[in-house]
Structures are given as structure tokens and as C-alpha cells.
């Protein structure tokens, strides 16, 4: 009996480990930024002109930062979810347009102003077609702000509290279930304090 039982228990243990390992997403890396102040930045917005946005502008309210780009395929899946969510006006979503002009793009080497103009045009067209869930979208052309936020794949979503501290980060396309079960309760809790 013991002869069968011990290998069986070991085997089941191994299977459980492997099964859990299979189901885990290796792209999901815990962010060290949770609980830390959102890194500061000042960037041009999608709207024309020289107006700039900084996270300080959102001080005093709970908000979401959503990293996106028109070239990002998973964003297309996520976008309708965000648009529907934004219509409920529960929390302002700021877009971070991440490296809109890609290195393989002929315009990549163009001067900054030209790149900004092109990126704004492309983003605007895309948002017109797919809907705009953002209160504003900031243009991170060289991806530096993305690096400061630990972005390694688009889309990514951050929840930032009234004091400007990052409370939650999600890598990948946000689903209605995630919004309802995780993000909304968190926002409600953060709004109370």
C-alpha cells in the first residue's frame, strides 16, 4: 500500500505544480511601483497646441492611466470595454499614447514636431473610429515615461489614488469582469478615503 501511495502523492503534487504553472501567465510580472507615487512627467496632449499634462493635474481624485497605441492589436479588443466603462463616468481615464511612431516607421527619424503632429493625427483618427474613453491622452513619443512606469507591453492600466500613489497595475486587455470585480471596488474604496 505504502509502495503505491508515496509515488502517487508525489506524482499528484508534481501534476498540481505543473498545472498551476501552465495556467499562469509568464508575462505577468508584479510591479514594484504598487504603493509608490506615480512617476512625474510633463507631456504634450493629444489635443492640438502646447498644452501639457502632468499627473499633478489629477491630484485629489482617483484616476486611471491606460497605456495604448493605434498599432497595438490587443488595444482593439480592450477599447470597446473602456469606451463603455467611460460612459458611466465613474472615474476619469487618462490615455498614455505609447510610442505611436514605431522604429520601423519611416517617420521615426523625423524631427520631434513632425512626429508629434503625425502621432496626433493618427491617434485622433483612430479614436474617432473606435470611440474616445479618455479625458485626455498624453503623447509619450520616445517611450521614456513608459519606462518610468515599468511598461513592457501595451495595453497596461494603472489605478492611481487621490494622493497620486499607484494602487493597481494590470498588463493586457482589461475585461468587463476585471473592471467589475477588481477595479471598480478598488476605486470605490479609494474614493471613500
Amino acid at each position: 500500500m505504502k509502495k503505491v501511495l508515496i509515488p502517487l502523492v508525489l506524482f499528484i503534487g508534481l501534476v498540481v505544480f505543473l498545472a498551476v504553472g501552465l495556467k499562469r501567465d509568464p508575462r505577468e510580472i508584479p510591479s514594484p511601483l504598487i504603493g509608490k507615487p506615480a512617476p512625474h512627467f510633463t507631456l504634450f496632449t493629444l489635443e492640438k497646441g502646447d498644452a501639457k499634462f502632468s499627473p499633478v493635474d489629477m491630484q485629489g481624485q482617483v484616476w486611471m492611466l491606460n497605456v495604448w497605441a493605434t498599432w497595438c492589436v490587443a488595444c482593439r479588443e480592450e477599447h470597446p470595454v473602456l469606451v463603455a466603462f467611460a460612459e458611466k463616468n465613474q472615474v476619469p481615464i487618462v490615455g498614455l499614447s505609447y510610442k505611436e511612431i514605431q522604429p520601423q516607421d519611416p517617420a521615426y527619424k523625423a524631427p520631434f514636431d513632425e512626429k508629434l503632429k503625425l502621432a496626433r493625427e493618427r491617434s485622433e483618427v483612430w479614436l474617432k473610429r473606435h470611440g474616445n474613453p479618455y479625458v485626455t491622452s498624453v503623447m509619450d513619443l520616445d517611450g521614456r515615461v513608459g519606462i518610468n512606469y515599468g511598461v513592457y507591453g501595451v495595453p497596461e492600466t494603472y489605478v492611481i489614488d487621490k494622493a497620486g500613489v499607484i494602487r493597481y497595475k494590470f498588463v493586457g486587455a482589461v475585461s468587463p469582469a476585471l473592471l467589475a470585480e477588481k477595479i471598480l471596488p478598488l476605486i470605490a474604496e479609494l474614493n471613500k478615503s
Binding site: L22, D25, P32, Q104, P106, I147, Y152, G153
Partner: protein, 174 residues
Amino acid sequence: MKRVWMNGALNGVYALSVSMAIWCAPQTALAQATAASSGLAAGREAPLMAEDPKLEARLVDISQELRCLVCQNESLASSHAELADDLRREVRELIRSGKSDQEIKDFLVARYGDFVLYRPEVKPLTWVLWFGPFLLLVIAAVGLGMYLRQRRALAAPAVLSDEARERAKQLLKG
């Protein structure tokens, strides 16, 4: 039921490899194409090897110790992913501004976590990682020792009784 689960798992693995391929492969191809048309401004940041060999050597040294977040089994030194390019650019600038290797690693850890280090620091959170294998080895050694002792007890040298010895003698004589 079981088959469905297996399919799900396999699909997951497949989707993962495809998405990895999307992130990693075109970049690799592009890098090779750029390398082939050496010297031409082919729309990518030119490799700065010639400009400052010392800086590049340090960049390679540091980035070999760092993991690329996109193609996770590649180091930052060897990855062709776009993010790796950007991160190498950051590291280059940090080297230029006179930061030490440790400061540069701290910069990346602050943003991407211990995961970027191929050799994470030894601290309570990484104890399992560092000492777990040795603990398993010790457990296995103890288990083996116990098992062997048990076997030896089972196979205790059988002492022949006088009677049996006598019989054996008889048999051998024929």
C-alpha cells in the same frame, strides 16, 4: 473534460508563443536586415559600437545580467525586442552620466522589479529562490539515507544456523 482542459492549456501555450513571436520575431528580422545593410540609416538607432567602445563594453557587461521583459529568456544584451533597445538607450545614458553598475541596476529594479535581474539580490523575499534547491537537496539526501538504512536492516546478513550449515555441507558433498 480532461481533453478540454488539455486543449485549453495547449491553446494558452500556443497563444503565448504566438504573441511572443509577434513581439520578438519581426524585431529580430529587422535587426538582421539593418545589420545586412551595414552603415545605412535604415530607420533604427545605429549601433554605437565604434563611437565609444568602453561605454559599449560596460553596456554589454551590465545588460548581460539583465533580463529582457519582452522575450524573457533573453538578456537585455542579446534581445532584439524594441523595449530592449529603449532600455539599452537608457542604460547608455546612465553610464554616460557617471552612474555605477549598482545604481543602473537599481534604476531598472525600481521600475520592473527583481525580475529583471538574472541574479536577484539575496533578501527574505528571494530566500526560497536561493536556498530552496539546497533545502530540497538536503531533504532528498536525508530521505535517501533513511531509505538505505531501512534496506540494510531488511537485508541483515543471514547467519546460518548450525543445522542449516550441516545440511548445506551434505548437499555440496552430493
